[in-house]
Amino acid sequence: MVRAALATKRRIGRGPTPFAAYLPAASVVAASLLAALPIVATNGWFPNFGFLVLLGWRLLRSDPWPPWWAAPMGFLNDLITGMPIGLSVTLWSATMLALDLIDRRTMWRDYWIEWALAALFIAIDQWSQWRIAAAMGARVPFSAMAPAIAISICMFPVSAWLVSRIDAWRLGR
């Protein structure tokens, strides 16, 4: 389907918003900041919001931000969420790199492939959190991570939808 067919009718006189180039990165940081919400969770089943939005942007577009921005955004995420510093820096940069390599190979994409890719990266993200926690003396059985992974995978379409709305708004479509 041609994407233009899905667009709204009112298009005359609307252009990109002033900070269109920075909005994707800003939305990732805003998603990370959700960790400052005053919710006291007894289990860690909430998704890693920053990572979900990062994946949403990167799967929607190949160039939402210069790839190296993933490192500082990951650093902010580590600081805000209290993860070991460097975990998101590494993981988010590696995700950008891996998705670029995957982009070279894939001939076509659809929503199912994007969701499957996102599921894979979410699983890797949760696994590395689990591995690092184990290295720091908090070894829980990996099965304890299963609900968190399932919830994050189910949340991905929501974040992808949200990202596509932000994208349409920032470009004035």
């Binding site: 890693n48 975990l87 926690a133 829980v140």
Partner: protein, 290 residues
């Protein structure tokens, strides 16, 4: 970077190549930072404290809103079953009064015995009182954010308790907020004992809001459903006689317990100095970081 070649423009090709290098650089820097936070987490104390100072007060402000909403909802729920609840509470009240009388007698006897033994009462003063304003969301670790920081005298390795029971211990401090390792975290190991009988046990978190309790001595499983675990004061970090958890389920060689101080519901948390400061200095030098 999306396609193999952005066309014939040399400039675009170089741009692509350098952004590729930059990402690899990002990964290397990240691995370095990660290795540092594994071996020397105290290096990050300042920057993490600063981040806590930014996010902590935000969470504190929002917490007011969410607790009001929650209060309205649970408040409405309380009216639902009021007559039944009233009868049950009256019964509990009577039982409680009998227990208090008993406890008063024990306290008096205890005071007399201590006077006989000439034991000096250990002063247990409060460092600061704060509120739990947030927690770690998406990780196998269980941390909470406390609304007081080093300005109020809070330092890492201080035990945190609520009126209901033990909450955890401070691991990082900012000027205005601090991060608390909850007793339900896997890395939190609290020496305790059974209230009934006083057998020494070890309480280790399970990372999902519950606690594993194991007896120190091997033998028959000493736990029963409903048993209360209290701290023993061994190790010198946590003060003795603070309730930790209630046993809800038995397993092979121990039991699963639920913390008595639910961090989501406690109204305020009390930070106390380490029970025996000398012991906690040792603990700090070989402490596992956050």
């Amino acid at each position: 970077m999306a396609t193999a070649r952005p066309g014939w423009s040399r400039r675009a090709q170089y741009g692509l190549f350098f952004s590729f290098l930059a990402v690899i650089g990002g990964i290397i820097v990240g691995l370095f930072l990660l290795a540092l936070s594994l071996v020397a987490p105290q290096q990050y104390q300042a920057v993490r404290g600063a981040a806590l100072d930014v996010t902590g007060p935000v969470a504190g402000g929002l917490r007011e809103v969410s607790s009001t909403v929650k209060g309205v909802v649970t408040g409405a729920g309380n009216y639902w079953d009021a007559a039944d609840q009233n009868g049950r509470l009256k019964q509990e009240n009577a039982a409680m009064r009998r227990q208090i009388l008993k406890a008063n007698a024990v306290i008096q006897e205890n005071r007399q015995l201590k006077a006989v033994l000439d034991l000096r009462k250990r002063e247990q003063d409060t460092v600061a009182v704060g509120r739990i304003v947030g927690s770690s969301f998406s990780s196998p670790r269980r941390y909470a954010i406390l609304s007081v920081g080093s300005n109020a005298g809070v330092r890492p390795e201080m035990p945190v308790r609520a009126p209901d029971g033990l909450v955890g211990r401070v691991v990082e401090t900012g000027a205005l907020a601090s991060r608390v390792l909850l007793v339900s975290d896997r890395a939190s190991i609290v020496p305790g004992r059974l209230l009934r009988g006083g057998r020494p046990v070890i309480a280790q978190g399970r990372g999902d809001g519950t606690i594993d309790v194991h007896p120190l001595e091997v033998g028959r499983n000493p736990f029963r459903r409903g048993d209360i675990i209290i701290t023993s004061g061994t190790g010198g970090l946590y003060p003795p006689l603070v309730p930790i958890a209630r046993v809800v389920k038995l397993d092979d060689d121990g039991a699963i317990a639920v913390p008595l101080a639910d961090p989501a519901n406690i109204s305020f948390a009390i930070v106390e100095p380490p029970y025996e400061p000398a012991a906690s200095v040792d603990a700090q030098t070989n402490a596992e970081g956050p």
